[in-house]
């Protein structure tokens, strides 16, 4: 176990337990406070927060890009953005929102919550986890620097060949796209491996597969999707990079290439990507709705298996993005039918959420509003999705604003509403203070109304024939009114995001004036609520032993002889205090950051000057070398008074903890 390293060091090195302190930079950093500690942290919670902060930053960036698009399209023949700049802005809006907002926001929740929900102290490979984040950030910054280095990517986030070749896209923008997304792809891939290993191996004793919270399950499905989808897009980007930088002929039609190759590669990644984006939000909502309905999730196993089914079926529908591309009627028919049937497991989820609410005691706190908002709005996106699965209808709808409306109902109405709900829900756990509920409700209603005012009319625009990705349109095409309405709506969304940011600042400022949130502000059901808020650095004083689904809830509540629910204990009584100070944790490290800094330098080198590649390569190689050579732990860090972590001080009842022999011996203290 990488986390709760209990192994005596003698076994691996033959050295005494307390190694001599290594010299120089190979020493591991020890600080866990101050801004510098954020650069070297390997704590999954801090990494989660970093992912979240970066995602919110890029959400603002992508949002500004969206506002520019809407300003340009507000009126026919507008000149806010020229054609060239418009193409860059809409490309970067898509790239930013998908790769730099929705994915890292999902990663933020996954990093923070998975170890807590399965009852462990960190992910399997903490340094790798830090590297994933820095790699993501390096790639994200790299892509965005293209704005200042000759122009951003201008071929659309889908980057169809051959329009992205040097011939047709002569600026360096698409190089930044191809290389930058390969770098963020490394982040996603490593993170996926890391989290899969974590869920498979580090579950607390008794945390069987079907005692895992739905959120963790959905995140596991997401990581498996990433594991297989990221290599496909990486391959495609790799080919594109070779085409652009060294004149390879992968997408050169003159040399016999078929541009449909790119379309297939892109969408084999691109469709699973949709589920990579949405399943984290589904997971969050599956946690929020039961809590504020005061009922368990309806049909737990159906929720799990429908998520898994989506994960499998998501691989068999990619060509529905290509119904107009000339793949032939047999392919069209096959993908049309497969696409229809992926609506079934999604529909099951919607209905199960509604059934969870049915008969419940619904309390519309801000997280609950966002969660129900997802159920409602995603349904619209799902239904319009079914209308595209009807391939003949899709030949009219594809590449029009009807599609823009559809996927914004899925991605904004699904991912953003769901994960905003998640932020309001888990904020007290993460930061130890709650976001203000009144401001949160303003945030929700402004966002919901603004969202519908923006994207609702786009259904009409699409059916009236407005193409996607057009920089302008003429009056007399019937597009004037609804475009103006959509632009007004987009500014309402912007206002709602301002309210959100204001809420964060105001709630932070007044955090000490309000009653403490305690470990369990919402009467939660899963293990993250069984420890102090904010989560202590070691997560759990004693690794919990799990006896049922919603174990924490069942320790608070039981049934009397009449079947009435009675309180067994308060959360404060049973939740861990986080006061233990002798838990052995992985030490911080410089090297994940260093290696990640090297990658974009190689990228700049490929584009501008190969000598820079040498510099970047040296940093990466040196960083990897130092990473390997650095001591596995700082010998002085976070040990008990005897210099060795010793967890054998619990009460040792350990009942029911027979499933995981490697951890059972040292994880004897159940929550109770």
């Amino acid at each position: 176990m990488a986390i709760v390293e209990d192994t005596p060091r003698e076994l691996t090195t033959g050295q005494p337990a307390v190694a001599e302190r290594p010299l120089g930079v190979l020493t591991r950093p020890t600080s866990t406070e101050g801004w510098k500690s954020w650069l070297t942290t390997v704590d999954h919670k801090r990494i989660g927060i970093l992912y979240g902060a970066a995602a919110i930053f890029f959400f603002v960036v992508g949002g500004i890009e969206a506002l520019l698009i809407r300003l340009q399209l507000a009126r026919p023949g507008a000149t806010v953005l020229g054609a060239d700049l418009y193409n860059q802005v809409f490309t970067m809006h898509g790239v930013t929102m998908i790769f730099l907002v929705a994915m890292p926001l999902g990663a933020a929740f996954a990093n923070y919550l998975i170890p807590l929900q399965i009852g462990t102290r960190d992910v399997a490979f903490p340094r790798l986890n830090a590297f994933s984040f820095w790699c993501f950030l390096a790639g994200a910054i790299f892509i965005n620097t293209s704005w200042f280095l000759g122009g951003a990517p201008d071929g659309g986030w889908f980057a169809y060949a051959p329009n992205t070749g040097v011939l047709f896209s002569p600026s360096n923008g698409m190089d930044f796209f191809a290389i930058g997304l390969q770098i963020t792809g490394i982040a996603s891939l490593l993170s996926a491996i890391n989290l899969i290993v974590t869920v498979v191996n580090l579950r607390a004793p008794g945390m069987t597969w079907f005692r895992m919270p739905v959120f963790t399950w959905m995140m596991l499905v997401v990581q498996v999707l990433l594991l297989f989808a990221i290599p496909v897009i990486t391959l495609a980007l790799f080919l594109l990079m070779f085409d652009r930088l060294w004149g390879a002929n992968f997408f050169n039609v003159e040399a016999g290439a078929d541009p449909l190759l790119w379309e297939h590669l892109f969408w084999i990644f691109g469709h699973p990507e949709v589920y990579i984006l949405i399943l984290p939000a589904f997971g969050a909502v599956s946690e929020i709705i039961p809590v504020f309905s005061r009922k368990p999730i309806f049909g737990y196993k159906f929720m799990i298996f429908s998520g898994i089914a989506i994960g499998f079926m998501g691989w068999g529908v990619w060509a529905h993005h290509m119904f107009a591309s000339g793949i032939g009627p047999i392919s069209v028919a096959a993908f049309s039918v497969s696409t229809m049937f992926i609506a079934v497991p999604t529909g099951v989820k919607i209905l199960n959420w509604m059934a969870t609410m049915w008969g419940g005691r619904l309390r519309f706190t801000t997280p609950m509003l966002f969660a129900v908002g997802l159920v409602s709005m995603f349904t619209i996106g799902g239904l319009s999705g079914v209308t595209h699965s009807v391939a003949p209808a899709d030949t009219q709808q594809t590449d029009t604003y009807y599609i823009v409306a559809h996927f914004h109902y899925v991605v904004f109405g699904g991912v953003i509403l769901g994960l905003f709900g998640g932020m309001y829900f888990w904020w007290p756990k993460v930061f130890g203070y709650a976001l203000d509920d009144r401001a949160g409700k303003w945030n929700f209603w402004l966002m919901l109304i603004g969202f519908n005012v923006t994207f609702g009319p786009m259904h009409l625009l699409g059916l009236q024939g407005m193409s996607r990705r057009i920089q302008t349109y003429s009056s007399g095409q019937g597009f004037d009114l609804w475009n103006m309405v959509a632009t007004i709506g987009s500014f309402m969304i912007a206002l709602s995001v301002l309210v959100f940011v204001g809420n964060i600042l105001q709630s932070y400022r007044t955090r000490n004036r309000r009653p403490p949130v305690g470990p369990d502000p919402w009467d939660g059901r899963s293990l993250e609520w069984a420890t102090a808020s904010p989560t202590p650095v070691h997560n759990f004083d004693y690794v919990p032993v799990v006896e049922s689904l919603d174990d924490f809830w069942h320790r608070k509540w039981g049934e009397d002889e009449d079947g009435n629910i009675v309180r067994l204990a308060t959360a404060e009584q049973i939740a861990q205090t986080g006061e233990r100070r002798d838990v052995h944790l992985p030490s911080p490290s410089y090297w994940p950051l260093v290696v990640a800094i090297g990658l974009p330098i190689i990228g700049y080198g490929l584009i501008f000057n190969y000598w820079l590649c040498m510099v970047g390569g040296a940093i990466v190689l040196g960083g990897v070398y130092a990473w390997i050579m650095e001591p596995t732990d700082d010998p002085d860090a976070a040990h008990g008074p005897d210099g060795h972590d010793d967890h054998h001080d619990g009460d040792g009842d350990g009942n029911g903890a027979t499933t995981d022999e490697s951890e059972a011996e040292e994880l004897e203290a159940p929550v109770g």
Binding site: V390, D399, G478
Partner: protein, 399 residues
């Protein structure tokens, strides 16, 4: 000159038809909801059912969400001091239901069943859409997209291995009532050919030739828009399909088959013709003047361009070739130019000379272009106002 009166007359009919069809579909020339041809109608007949089913489910689901939100909602305590974890009191529990197998299997099976029915009809229409009803006319039109306009190559005998009989741009003219088989292609990047009121869209992919079909029930003028992002001027890449009665169509074909006349000194437009040959013929063809049929006298031999166009031609890697720009032999018989972005005539049927002169003088200022990268028409800022007048005078002779 000879067919001027005839074509003016037909133009009047055309304008009238345009007015009518514009009135018919209001001010939404690109709408998908008002089909004017059988293929589009097939799509709409299917889609409207799906919209209806989706609409019912939409109402049911949203209704349920609203209903249960209202019915099962509990208010938080008024007094904030009474706030408890989650806002609930200890005895406040509904029945704890963990699921219901019958319900869950039911709402797995029922949507699957509905979708299975939709799937059957969908698959039927997918194959129907591929059917082309043979008419007596062997006509095949190759539709060639390029940055940022459409070329139409008419093979009156249906043989696409020989050079086309008619080459025109931006406006596809076809007879009403019959299925016209198209071969959608591209010379550079992926475009998409879409006339919403007649049929769905079909991508024009370089290196591939995609069969597609158009059919119009009534004579009319139907707008289209390139719908696959194709670079800088994507928004400005539009097109029309003009459906004519059989007689009008035959007259149009006869007129298009006639080459332009070589003007001689003293003819109206002669100076313009000479300027055109010097300045414009590098890219634009006017049959009979800057011939594409292998007359080397003008240094133009672009027959190759029109044979086997299912491949990217080399002009993007070498230099511009005549034929790389719209064929202007019968320029004035069209109503729009420059990717159908500009109207050639004003409402009264007069040539909109100011716009045309502006376009000839400085195309990149009128529509986004990248001529230094051989994408789109370059500026001719060296032309004097007189020369511009002369060129436009000449263009007006190309009936």
């Amino acid at each position: 000159m000879k067919s001027l009166a005839g074509s003016r007359g037909r133009l009047a009919t055309l304008v009238a038809t345009v007015m009518l069809s514009a009135a018919a579909c209001g001010d939404k020339p690109l709408t998908t909801m008002d089909s004017a041809g059988e293929k589009a109608a097939q799509i709409n007949d299917l889609a409207l059912w799906v919209f209806a089913i989706a609409g019912v489910i939409f109402v049911l689901v949203q209704g349920m969400i609203l209903y249960s939100s209202k019915r099962f909602r509990v208010k938080p305590p008024e007094d904030p001091d009474q706030e408890r974890p989650g806002g609930y009191s200890d005895d406040e529990f509904p029945e704890q239901i963990h699921g219901n197998d019958v319900l869950e299997w039911g709402w797995t099976a029922l949507p699957a069943l509905i979708l299975a029915v939709v799937a059957v009809f969908t698959v039927v229409v997918i194959f129907e859409q591929d059917d082309v009803q043979a008419s007596g006319d062997p006509l095949v039109v190759e539709v060639v997209g390029q940055q940022w306009w459409w070329e139409f190559q008419y093979h009156l005998d249906g043989n696409t291995d020989t050079p086309p009989d008619i080459v025109t741009a931006n406006e596809l003219v076809m007879p009403v009532g019959v299925d016209i088989p198209l071969r959608v292609q591209s010379r550079d990047v992926i475009h998409s050919y879409w006339i919403p009121r007649l049929n769905g869209k079909r991508d024009a992919v370089p290196g591939r030739s995609h069969p597609w079909v158009l059919q119009a029930n009534e004579p009319g003028r139907f707008m289209g828009q390139c719908t696959e992002f194709c670079g800088l001027s994507h928004a400005y890449m539009r097109m029309f399909t003009v459906a004519l009665s059989q007689a009008d169509y035959e007259a149009w074909v006869a007129e298009q088959l006639v080459d332009a006349e070589q003007l001689s000194e003293g003819d109206v437009g002669y100076e313009g013709q000479q300027l055109f040959i010097a300045q414009c013929a590098e890219c634009h063809i006017i049959e009979g003047v800057t011939d594409r049929d292998g007359d080397p006298s003008n240094g133009v031999d672009s027959t190759d361009l029109y044979v086997g166009t299912a491949g990217v031609d080399e002009r993007y890697t070498d230099s511009l070739t005549a034929g790389a720009a719209p064929n202007l032999t019968h320029f004035m018989s069209r109503e729009t130019y420059a990717g159908s972005f500009f109207d050639l005539y004003d409402e009264d049927g007069n040539v909109n000379r100011a716009q045309l002169e502006a376009w000839v003088l400085n195309a990149p200022a009128e529509k986004p272009n990248r001529p230094d990268n051989l994408q789109g028409m370059r500026a001719f800022l060296n032309l004097t106002p007189d020369q511009l007048e002369q060129i436009v005078d000449y263009l007006e002779t190309l009936q």
